[in-house]
Symmetry: D3
Subunit: 293 residues, 6 copies
């Protein structure tokens, strides 16, 4: 169950209106790595969890915090739009190029659809979608996904920080940056703890019987491009991070197999086939005709 409190975790109030920035801020609200993504991702990971206790508690705890971040951004966006020119004719789009530019750079659905309100979309107006999230049931894989989301998210907030000099907005971003720092650290710590406790290990999934994979190619760097420097990295020689093998380097593939022959499906799919099959195709049609009568 979720309970809502009509307070924010941190102040969220711009110094001045800015419709163009409101649009940009949508990225970290409703984009691939925005706050809706992490709120939903941690929620689904918790609901699907097979392990009660500290890991699930953390998923629930941070998931609920992220829902509050969704709110902080939505409220900020609504305020950025509040007094900004959004294309009403008096905004004088025609005559004042600065105003025209503002209107040109904003998300027009902020005005037309939401009446100066936030929307569940990214900075290009693409709706948030369920396929932005990851929840596999394997916590080592999923904590990796979470660390990834927090890294991409903090990177985007850092970029956005340089796109405004509004003190109020920057204050909110400072807060989000700090929380992203925390959450990056925490998912990395949790991934380590999973491994230290022996619950999971590399490679993911660790319990798949390793003998069933084609081991001769499990630690080969096979270079399908012509950049020789690829051989210099720690991924081309030395022990692999999973502790189970030694890297080797190869130009191109180490195995190959002939392309299988072209398929010959039922003639009634009317694919283009060689002549013998065409006869069959017509025959099939005849048979079909007989079958019907």
């Amino acid at each position: 169950m979720f309970f809502h409190k009509q307070e924010l975790q941190f102040k969220s109030k711009p110094s001045k209106p800015d419709a163009v920035y409101a649009r940009k801020l949508q990225e970290v609200l409703g984009g691939q790595y925005g706050e809706i993504t992490v709120a939903m991702q941690y929620g689904f990971q918790a609901w699907n969890s097979h392990l009660p206790g500290k890991y699930r508690d953390m998923l629930f705890g941070i998931g609920a915090e992220e829902m509050g971040h969704v709110e902080m951004l939505a409220v900020m966006i609504a305020q950025l739009l509040e007094k900004a020119p959004l294309g009403i004719t008096e905004d004088a789009v025609q005559s004042d190029p600065t105003v025209a530019a503002v209107v040109g750079g904003m998300d027009v659905q902020h005005a037309i659809v939401a009446g100066a309100g936030a929307r569940p979309v990214d900075s290009n107006g693409n709706p948030w979608q369920g396929s932005f999230i990851t929840a596999s049931g394997n916590l080592l894989a999923d904590f990796q996904a979470n660390a990834n989301a927090e890294m991409q998210g903090r990177l985007q907030v850092a970029r956005l920080y340089h796109m405004t000099d509004d003190h109020g907005v920057r204050d909110l971003l400072s807060f989000l940056l700090a929380r992203d720092t925390m959450h990056q650290n925490q998912w990395i710590a949790a991934a380590r703890e999973l491994q230290e406790e022996g619950l999971e290990s590399l490679p993911v999934p660790s319990n798949f019987p390793i003998k069933k994979e084609e081991r001769p190619v499990s630690y080969q760097y096979q270079n399908f491009s012509d950049g020789a420097a690829a051989a210099e990295g720690s991924w081309a020689s030395g022990p692999a991070p999973d502790g189970l093998g030694e890297f080797t380097y190869h130009d191109g593939p180490t195995t190959s197999a002939p392309m299988p022959p072209a398929t010959q499906p039922d003639a009634r799919y009317y694919g283009t086939t060689p002549v013998p099959n065409r006869v069959e195709k017509i025959a099939g049609a005849v048979q079909d005709k007989l079958h019907r009568e």
Copy 2:
């Protein structure tokens, strides 16, 4: 530039037709973490790279390999569909429940749209989409994303392994599992190397002036749920992985701010506003009328 060779990296031939499995295999071809995703993701990361040399060479090298994996899976799917019942009336859907079940569990677009061929979609028929990939320009973040993709990918292949007993299919999966093992290891190694070389460090992005974030909350675990076990983890006390702070634990938020007042945008958006604003709204309309005449 890309060059194609009409050979495969490994044999890809099923022992028998299986339309239902063909559908399932679409997940690792065209799904969120399928081969199209990694091929495109590594490609875009390379094209957008700001760093020539070994890291970019590796992105190019593995990206091209993954395009070959797309091909291996597409060819396998076409063969799984080749002689399978796909719903043609002679397949006797009506009378034989086993055949009916097969047809019921397949991707019907395999038959109707592709004529017994593979498609750029996931196992539910959702088209592959560009928003499945990540390419931010920050290699530490992106290698984390890559390790994530390889983990989710190997996990899905492992699950698929148990959903068939076809030796030919399992052979291909064994190969893909091994390559995923390699690629998981290699992105983790590359992420480490980036840090050892001093190119990047935690938290991502590491060059953002850390003083600009709200440091007092950078290492606080704030638990917005009621699970007490959340305090037991290594994310709630002790040093943080980034080496820059010490975790602390808190029930709920440590800061709060009042909800900002409701916004009052221009009356001509016709939002519902308190009475005084309604007067303004009508006034606005009058003004607009005057303005027009």
Copy 3:
């Protein structure tokens, strides 16, 4: 069957070109609540109707009118784009900021993809999609959806009215506003008539055996936020609109249940599970190995 006549229901001709406005107008052509939505929505409701006669006749009659509105908007958009600067170099984007702003605010696919033509997308260029429509087979629910669509639609047209002072465009919008007024009224009238005729009633669906719902919570306002004013509304005390119950007010839930234990699916999904299950997971793998040999 549909027949087309090369006339419009009302004049649709702008006074001057305006590419930025053409983009905005796409919202009411191809957006969530645009004319394609209502044309398709009323069509599918009619085709799926279980009731011949006046209700279905109305769905057919208005659905066909809305297809004509799609046409009026498409024709208007093409004209708005006809002589507007769309980014051709002579438009002097570089040197004249006003022109640059115009080009910046337009839908660039209008020029690149459609060659100065209308497109089946919203004002952010998101394609129209089938999931914008509602057609459930229950006419009381669907007329509510229709009234909703006409309200959101009229609201958007009203906002667009203030974003231009082109007399020709405003004339068309005046017409659309009037038709939306009509259609709002008509769906509300139709919803009432359904109830007066005893065909449907509240709550929707009215024929579901009411005893099967958990009646003790059917009229409880349960407030999961901390705003005390929520108790002041007519939804917190007094008779409910369906005439079957009396509203009561509660802070928070009136019932609760423990969170069910974490699930323990088959070990071969490789989810992260507590230790005993890990043994089982390995065992499962062994069993699988035996099974294969």
Copy 4:
């Protein structure tokens, strides 16, 4: 801010596993009218609200409750999948048609992607998306949208009720049906209250200067189909619900305008144009050539 409590609002535990039903239940979790939709819709309406007090309090209060419903359904789905055959080979898909049918009818991503967990998708595996929600800033329009969502939602739950005889599932559905009854009633009550308080009235938006619409067609039923029964309804004669006009009936349109002439955009879009313009097109190209040199 949101706080989470590790309890549910009502029991959510199936009597037996049922993967096919788990898939169906996804509709009311992640579909167009599922719980994610209403949770997000009420949230965005509150964050964008221009009116403090009871209406916003209600939006916050019910929005938070709906987030808890998301959780109840996700938890139920995970349990329905827990012990169900999901396509692992021992499930004997090949030989037992009943098991094959179960596997055929399930959402295969439940197994492959989520490892027997819930997903943010509908019953056909389409991801939930931001364009499912409505939040316009006009509360009369939005409460209409909310009533619509609750009606469609309750209708779907009622249908799902008849698709299972699992007592545990039906118990949860009974609870959801009751809450949908409550929420239908409450949005209808709130819409009435808005009107009684003079904040909004019909047609929406009520403050748009009515004289600016083309009043002669504001109450005309224009029948673009040939069903004569359309004239019998209360939408074809008598007073309109908004109290501002009287319905009249017309076969077909009452106004018409000629189709505007075909547009002639810049020749460099290479559209197909009549001969004179073709000359211009070539000229344009020449001019362009000159321009470049």
Copy 5:
């Protein structure tokens, strides 16, 4: 303007219910090449047309016919679903594998969302979308697109023909096949006529100044794969169809250029850059700090 008549162009009535087939039929109603696509495609081509007269008349004429085909299919689907088992418990899914298979193979949203009605989606339940259509303003290109749509469409209908033996359904498909034959022929005829009248020619767009393209590579077949048979085709030697060049064959590219150096964008995007740029990055940050104070 569009007018609707409550008759169909041809009979559309199944002999018996068939929910699985209803789902398949959705492909040609709401799929990439379904009837909604062609109806909308011809409509937008007409509305965007720059040429009055016979070509536009044809677009309007056939577009309106296709809207009627949408209707015929929707009505057929509703009838196929009318008495079919759709998952209601009495359908005895549990005990009868044949019924279970039927339910497993149907589109569950037909039952849950549409209450046994048609939907604007394809056979996998993906919503129809605006990006399925093509309308560029260049009629030669667009008639090619139209011929393509009619070919893919007829191919799908032909496949669907073999997936049922219901005489009523086959009758409707016979009619659609014939109309697709007509429309294929007609778009090919129209494309020819455009060229014979000198309005357009190959390559599309024909009026682009041909000297501006890199002519030395305009007729070279460059084979980036290793299949030698590629040189045998009429595309590798002899005159090209546009009459302006002669084909030649080459193994691989005939030109090449070095990969441009890696880009070095502003340091405040926090991309991973070589060391010198890292200094700059820090400097940038310092500068930014100074700038703020």
Copy 6:
């Protein structure tokens, strides 16, 4: 298998930065008819091919070339973005309207998400998706689709040519225009060759038993609009291109059928039905109740 070489097929280097143009160029990289589309389309057609030899070799050969075009465009876009103002505050958006206009017209995700890099999206930021491609297994249909893709693609490149005067960009476009000229010619040549070799003929699919279609309407132009000029075309009289029939012209349909009666599905879908069925609906509910007890 695919092999990558760190060279480009042609030079790809702009003369100056231009973020607005970078956004426009995304259309031919990741749009409906961009290079990702053709690369994937030819790949899937080859993998699904039923015919070994020259046609498949060509599909492989050109598919691989197109992957190289994806790369050329991605690299160009990254360079166009490299030094362009992307919204960093020093770009002085507020004060300089020209800069503001540039920022307003760019794809903001280029900066926020990709850090000045290319993305797999179109010029409106819509992600590339698998439903952009066509691969049916019937080569005559698919080569028609390919010719269509090359025509629309060349048309878009031609338009883009006029939207820049950057010599470096124009050089790349000149090259792409020439390759599109080649590929248009080559798919048309291949389609002819298929027919000359007797592998396929018109109408597509040519092997479907023609007697099974409703031949009386196979060559009738039925005009559902009122434009009389439609009768003047070569599609209204004379021999049809498939050589199997003679065109005739008709105003409107030549056949018709009554609209089937409204469907009456199971009462437990709670659709709105006439009175007798309502009784049944209640009865159904009662029966259901009895059934449960």
